[in-house]
Each structure stands twice: as structure tokens, then as C-alpha cells.
Symmetry: C2
Subunit: 341 residues, 2 copies
Amino acid sequence: MSEMIRVLRGNWTESRHRGHVAVVDASGALLHYLGDPFRPTFARSAMKPVQALPLVMSGAADRFGFGPADLALSCASHNGEERHRLRAASMLARAGLREDVLECGFHPPRHRESHHEVIRKGVELTPVFSNCSGKHAGMVATAAHLGEDPTGYSAPDHPVQRRILREVSAITGCPEQEIVYGVDGCNVPAYRLPLDRLALIYARLADPASISDRKRRGAAERVTEAMVTHPEMVGGKERFCTDLMEAFRGCLVGKVGAEAVYCIGDRQQGIGIAVKIEDGAERVLYAAAVEVLRQLEIGTQTGELERLSAYTRPEVKNMRGRVVGRIEPDFELRSGEPARW
Amino acid sequence: MSEMIRVLRGNWTESRHRGHVAVVDASGALLHYLGDPFRPTFARSAMKPVQALPLVMSGAADRFGFGPADLALSCASHNGEERHRLRAASMLARAGLREDVLECGFHPPRHRESHHEVIRKGVELTPVFSNCSGKHAGMVATAAHLGEDPTGYSAPDHPVQRRILREVSAITGCPEQEIVYGVDGCNVPAYRLPLDRLALIYARLADPASISDRKRRGAAERVTEAMVTHPEMVGGKERFCTDLMEAFRGCLVGKVGAEAVYCIGDRQQGIGIAVKIEDGAERVLYAAAVEVLRQLEIGTQTGELERLSAYTRPEVKNMRGRVVGRIEPDFELRSGEPARW
């Protein structure tokens, strides 16, 4: 358990957050860490690229003409902007499905202007508004393609989720029966794995050659390429996932998970990074992730990190717009394996 | 530094929060604690009752006819409901001041329905919307009463803030020159004090007889009585401060501060409680505060705590309304003084 990042008011610490980091190569070897790199961690939405693999592997994506933007939306925790909602609806339509088949529930758009517009116009919220609507559209499309009844697809024993569990196991090397899951915000299984296994997922997405199964490898390549080609579908306006992937122009794939999980795959080095803030605070997550990149010298020489300066040491402003504090990383990654007690 | 409260998904820990508690009597003696009871802590809005003392002591409250509901609003981090905004505006009007004298800035109402109404009607936000507008109205009214120019009243060297610093010092016993301050969200000084000194403030509000100065004692009595008589002005709908004080019917005075500070004064025992969640997470603060009350057996025999059951071990629900986890306190208060290293 390590101190990771501080919130300052003036020059004084007001609050502190602990965190954990695991950096691995595509063989799973631990290269760098902070805190407990084996911390059991719910991946939450950082699992979405894996959850999208059966959509490609089953042939459903090809059958329904889902292109890169659709696959990117399948991996998204999107803002609920109109472009995201329309695309999720279009995926459903192309699969011949109605929106009410979705079991994700809904919530107001995260994007502020979209949210205000919904309130102003009195628009009724429906499942496409869910930040997970692309993932769910992919899940039901896969079921429809395979001739399965999509009803109940969010339950762990439905073939949709059993296929996904198989992929989680295959890409992480964790036996299915050892993978613990809870229920996610959008009602599907939320997988809990050691943090270094989350990093391994992203190392393998970044270096698909490390995936032996040809079909799985091809799907991982397509999903990753889709995310980096359409970062605007993965998050949206003023979202770190989008800004990170735009800044790194295809070299990094990154995805947030709820409760402050961030995973990055470096496609140039073929390594994966997983960050978990112990208390689940998103407010410090991106500054922590950027600091990890800086310490690993990813994007430091080539200018990409500079484009993320808004996330680096974010200022805390008050209601008059005055800078009254800042968020400041306060850790150093260690190399190699930690001592095991 | 102690583990305090966990966020579970299913039966597994997803995130964890550390915390600190100090429980003192009105002499300042430490009765119980968790973590570091002397942790330097920005009181934030938990200081508001002290910031309201000069409003009463100066005679401004009497001069402008500020009753208990007005004084309660002066101590509030209110929801921005219409009743709060109208009262703040009325206080300004009674003091012969215009709203644009306020230097607090503004933000959308915290109360969801009020916020939506503002968006639907396209209402322009103004300083009375600030959750601190009552405090600021009290500050400028005090200046006006004393014939001071209120312009710049939010700066540390303005007489308004110098009077408040004197009160902070007097009630906590900390010399003025040792009290560190930053800038608060609403632009006035935010005081940083050892956590047990925040608890002492509330012990003294709960037991004003412990305050030797007659004028200060009378003001503390009036302010505390105003808060417990008008809890709806201190917070609003679905707010812990309001629900706590309503449940305890005058026996407890409680106030939240930003970055997860909660302070309570027990008027029956004359003790004060201060809680700080290390990472500033409000989501676990109230469950932590209620657990402290339970361990101190405040409201356990007499049924008040039962009325706060929604805050006790809050359920985590997902977007389908399904219970997928819970927030669970995981600490035991210690008695007496901690060993000093």
C-alpha cells in the first residue's frame, strides 16, 4: 500500500490518495510497480476490450457491418453525446434488435452539455444513454448472430457472458474457476483479477503477436486498432481516454474503469500498465496515469505527454475561478518484482 | 493513519478509505480517536458556525432582524433550493446590500430538482446560488453594520476576516499566528487546524458554558440553537446535516466540510467529534460519522440512529437499481490519548 498522490490547498496537503501500479510485458513479467501489483482489483470498464472480443471472433461484427467506430463504441465508457447514442442505436438496428432488449439500465449523459440538453428538452432517458450502451449492443448482436435468445444476456450463465469469461481467462492466463466476479454498474459480471493481470491484458492488446490463438489474436488486433482510430467513440469530449489516444496517435491504447482503474497498452514497447487508486477516486486517476507514463519515459522525448498537460498536475480552482490548490503525484515506481512476504 | 471504511462489490472489497477521528470534551481532553487525532485538517465549511459568531457578537444580526433561520443559513452549505436562495437574498436586502457585493462565486444547486429547474428555465446563476451564500450574506451584513466598506471582505486582511480569525483562535485556543489558512472554494480563508481542535469547536458549541467570554458564549448559544432549530436551512432535502439534526431533535449539532470533514457536537454530554476521511471522499463520510455515533452509543438506546439507517451501511446500487455492493465501516475507536512518537 503506497501513498501515490496528494491534493494540496495552497502549499499544504489537504487529502491524500494511495495507489497501486503494475507494469508488465506481454509474457506477464513484472517490470515496474507501486504498492501491491497483485492487488485483487475489479477491472470494471477496463475489461471492455476483452468483452468485445467475442463480437469479432463470432463473426457478428462482420455479419452486421460493424466497422472500427462501432467496435470502438463497444469498448467505450462514452459520454452519452448524440453521436454515441445514435451509433449504439444504429448497431442495434443493424443487428435487427430493439433498444428494449438492452439490460444495462441508463443514467444521464456524462457530457455536461448533452446532459443539459436532455433536461431542457425533457428527453426521456433510455438504455442507449448508458455509457456502456456500445458494449451491450455488441453483446446482444453476438447473441443474435449465433441464434441465441438475447433475453437475460447480462447474467453470468448466459452464453454471452460464458464466452466473455473464456476470453478473460484466455488472455490473462487465470483459470475460469478462479476468476471472481461481482455485478457491474451496467448489470453484467465485473471481473476481479490481480492488478498485474489487468496490465497483462493491455500488454497483449498492445502486442497481439503474444496471443497464440489466431482468431483471438486477430480480434484483439481489430479491437485495439478500432479504439486508437476512433478515440472519440471510446470517451468523448473532455475525456482522458480520448485525449490520451489522440495525443499518442495510435501508439497507446487506454481505457478507464470505474472506482479509479486505468489501463494502458504501449504498442511500441509491447507493455501493459494498470493503475488502481485504492479509494476509487477518479479525480486523481489521470494525473497518476500520466505520471506513470512520465516515469517510464513514454511520450516524454517525443512531445505527446506535453499535449496532456491539463492532466499532469491539475489545478484546483474555486468558485471564482481562482487557483487554490493542485493535485500532485508523489510516488516513484520501483523496478522488478516486490519482495513477497 | 487507519483503515476506516470499505466499499464492497458483492462480498469483496473494491476500494478502501482511511480516516481519522477525534472526540474531545469541552476542555479539549481527548476521549476517543482513530488514526491521527492531531492531523492538520482544513475545516472548510465545518468552520461556518465560528465564522458566523461576529455576525451575532457585533450586533449586526439584531440590527437587521436576522432570526434563527437566517443564522442557520449563515452556517449552511445549503442545497441551493429556492428557500435558501430567497433567504440569502432577503438577508442582503435587510442589510441594505446588493447581491453583487458577494465574493463567493456561484455554482449550480446541489439539489437535483432545483438544478434541473435552473437548466430548464435557463435561469442565470448568481452568488445566492452558492452553497455559502448565507455565510457571505452574514459577513457583508457585519461589515455594513460596523460601517466598513464590504468590498474585498473575502481577503484575509479585511476586518471581516480578521474578526473571524480572532474567533477561530479564541474557541480553539490556537494562537492566531499559528493558524495556517488557504483559500476556500468560496474565496474566504480556509483554516487548517489539528483535528482535535475542530472537535473542540463543536464541544464548545455543544457546551457553551465552557466559553468564558460572555458575548462569545451568548453568540455560540444562539448560532447552535439556530442550526438545530432550522436544520432545513443548514443543508436541505436529502442532506445528512439536515437529517442528522432532525433525527436528534436538538441534541446534536452537525456540519459537513468539503474534502470529507464532519463535525458533531453532542449537547447532552458536552463533547465534540471531528471526522476526516484521508482522501476527501464524501461518499463514505456519513456512514463513518454514524458509525462513530454508534460506537459512542449516542442515539443507540433512544432510537435516533435508527432514523439514519439510510446512512448507516449504504447500499451500492447499479443502473438497474440492483444492489451490487455496500459501504461498510471497518474500524474501532480507541480510548484515551495515542502514544506520541
